[in-house]
Amino acid sequence: MALLEVKDLQVRVEDREILHGLSLSVNPGEVHAIMGPNGSGKSTLSHVIAGKPGYEVTGGQILFRGEDLLEMAPDERAAKGVFLAFQYPVEIPGVATMNFLRTALNAQRKARGESEYSTPDFLKKVREVAKSLNIPQDMLKRGVNVGFSGGEKKRNEILQMALFEPSLCILDEMDSGLDIDALRIAADGVNALRSPERAMVVITHYQRLLNYIVPDYVHVMAKGRVVKSGDKHLALELEAAGYAPFEHAA
């Protein structure tokens, strides 16, 4: 069974249809890249999988391990192992990062019927992961993402990913706003999490990210559907030819 099965998905925002019958199948251990021009519906897809309000699914389904994901609240999806790394991680003043991480991790564990982490185990784990991602300890004491640079915000997303150990990671434009060094650190963090049990969907506008996170499959989206799928070489083709031929094809 595929880990994630998107079938003929149609999605509206207000009166506009954004996705017109998108299909995608992702197996455990695979890394899929979704590329496409602005407005092709890449972020909409990531939001609908994570359960963001404001989108109306008018047709199709999303199955996660065979279960209907669209019937679940966003927190149920998270507890089942779906993780969205946000393109624009929000700032939450007054909520200390450490407190947030612990609350979220224990909420997920509780929902799965697992025991809560003890404080020493939790701290040890956070410190380890933070160190590997070059996240200083004092950042963890600050409000969530408050005063963080673009790179720090993205690293904080990956820190959460490492901590929550989801089985499906969706990375929405992880490279946006990052310089090359920040991108390398973030990508190393993601690569360290690749495993035979875990799948990743990497959404990006540029091929550059895929030099660091090398995908098994590349899908090109245009005008709300997947117009071409291939292996990592497709990304290089795109880099050379641009999106114009695909938009035309759509």
Binding site: A50, F86, T103, Q108
Partner: protein, 445 residues
């Protein structure tokens, strides 16, 4: 004639209450004269209503309708219930670590429930009743007079049965917080209390005032006043908590005067009661005085909570900071009124006031009224007010990380309140407020 009658009706109703209570009110002679004058002043207005600007959002004629008769003097059974209520409140709502309690039951000081002996030599505590009843004390009537007055303070002066008069001698640093606890044990009755607190030069203290309803005490009205003088370079942390029984009415007034270089950290919390108003009148009367006044209103069901603040900068070089937060659920109604007055001489005043309300349901209501009255020309003053709902983007982020809708809301409300709560410098007082706020959040449906 009918019109006149209806207009003065609330005054007439309480008129009977005053006459009936008269035999029970301490202080004869000049004190009785002061009471009678205060009652006349009250009667001219009656219960404040919406046409009086200061009471525009808290119309007591509509919310209270009338003043209930004075609670009877507590008997042994009532005192036992009061003791149980204080113990139970400590379990349910938390207690202030190390606090020495001064307990008033149905408006009368209860020595056997209080910890006066534990306060030591440098603190003098007397009851208002004994001071008012002491004919040798010529200035005793002054305890019923205040520079600032309004109808409810006048009514308090007329009807007050007891309170505590606390003096902290110069240079004393109190290690234990003092907690004045008011307990209501009677249903459909009222109590009128007034306390005085005087901090000598360089003294330091933390004083808390809170209200408890004993089991079965329903529909109680409390009218309380606290008159505080913070001496030169003295430092007072004061916390006023209204977490009354769900059907209680509480009108509390705090009148503060700060001497030169004095510091006052005042915090008001309303998280109970049907109708609550805390009004603080603070005069910065000595140069270099510093005021930090913060508060939170946590309201649900049909609760009405009003925090009203008048900061009076009377002299130059004083600083005031005010930060208020309200979280309103269901059909709750929160009111914040804040006025900064800068007198003509009060140059170099630095005054700021901010109020924000979080509306947690479609029917919740918040009225914010910040005002500046500036008569000096070399000052820095500002105020701001905002109200709105929880940010949907933040809620989704938290839910995408596994928090349920309720957990996500609680975390964001906590963060919102935290910015005011963090201003409580005394850790013992802060912890008490945090626990009350957490309990409120946990009880949200």
């Amino acid at each position: 004639m009918n019109l006149v009658l209806s207009k003065t009706d609330p005054g007439r109703a309480v008129g009977n209450v005053f006459v009936k209570a008269n035999g029970r009110l301490p202080g004869a002679g000049s004190v009785a004269d002061i009471r009678a004058r205060a009652f006349d002043a009250y009667k001219r207005v009656g219960l404040p209503h919406r046409r009086i600007e200061e009471w525009r959002y808290t119309d007591l004629r509509a919310l209270m309708r009338h003043v209930l008769p004075l609670a009877p003097q507590p008997d042994a059974a009532a005192l036992a219930r009061a003791r149980a209520a204080v113990a139970q409140a400590a379990v349910e709502k938390g207690a202030i670590e190390g606090a020495a309690k001064l307990v008033l039951v149905d408006g009368l000081f209860a020595p056997n429930l209080s910890d006066i002996a534990e306060l030591g030599q440098s603190v003098n505590v007397r009851t208002l009743r004994e001071v008012l009843d002491d004919p040798a004390n010529e200035g005793r009537g002054d305890l019923l007079l205040t520079a600032t007055t309004d109808a409810v303070i006048s009514l308090n002066a007329a009807m007050v049965t007891d309170g505590v008069v606390i003096t902290v001698t110069d240079g004393t640093e109190l290690s234990r917080p003092i907690q004045i606890v008011h307990v209501a044990t009677t249903s459909s009755a009222s109590s009128f209390t007034r306390s005085h607190l005087r901090l000598g030069k360089g003294a330091q203290a933390a004083v808390v005032e809170s209200f408890v309803a004993a089991e079965g005490a329903r529909n109680h009205q409390a009218n309380d006043a606290v008159i505080v003088s913070v001496g030169e370079a003295a430092n007072l942390a004061h916390l006023h908590v209204l977490a009354d029984g769900a059907d209680a009415t509480n009108i509390s007034s705090g009148l503060f005067a700060l001497g030169a270089s004095a510091k006052l950290k005042l915090f008001s919390m309303i998280c109970g009661g049907a109708v609550s108003r805390y009004q603080a009148f603070i005069t910065l009367a000595g140069e270099g005085a510093e005021l930090s006044v913060n508060g939170i209103n946590l309201l649900r069901d049909k609760q009405h909570g009003d925090t009203t603040l008048v900061v009076n900068h009377a002299v130059p070089h004083c600083t005031s900071r005010a930060n208020f937060r309200a979280a309103v659920d269901d059909r709750g109604h929160s009111v914040f009124q804040g006025r900064i007055i800068v007198r003509p001489d009060a140059q170099k005043t630095d005054g700021r006031m901010m109020t924000r309300a979080l509306l947690l349901s479609d029917e919740a209501e918040a009225d914010n009224k910040p005002e500046l009255e500036i008569f000096a020309d070399d000052v820095t003053c500002g105020h701001g007010a905002a109200s709105g709902a929880l940010d949907e983007t933040l809620l989704f982020y938290l839910r995408a990380r596994g928090l349920s809708g309720k957990e996500a809301q609680a975390l964001l409300v906590q963060a919102f309140l935290g910015e005011a709560i963090e201003e409580i410098a005394d850790g013992r007082l802060r912890e008490f407020v945090i626990v009350l706020a957490e309990r409120w959040l946990e009880a949200r449906g």
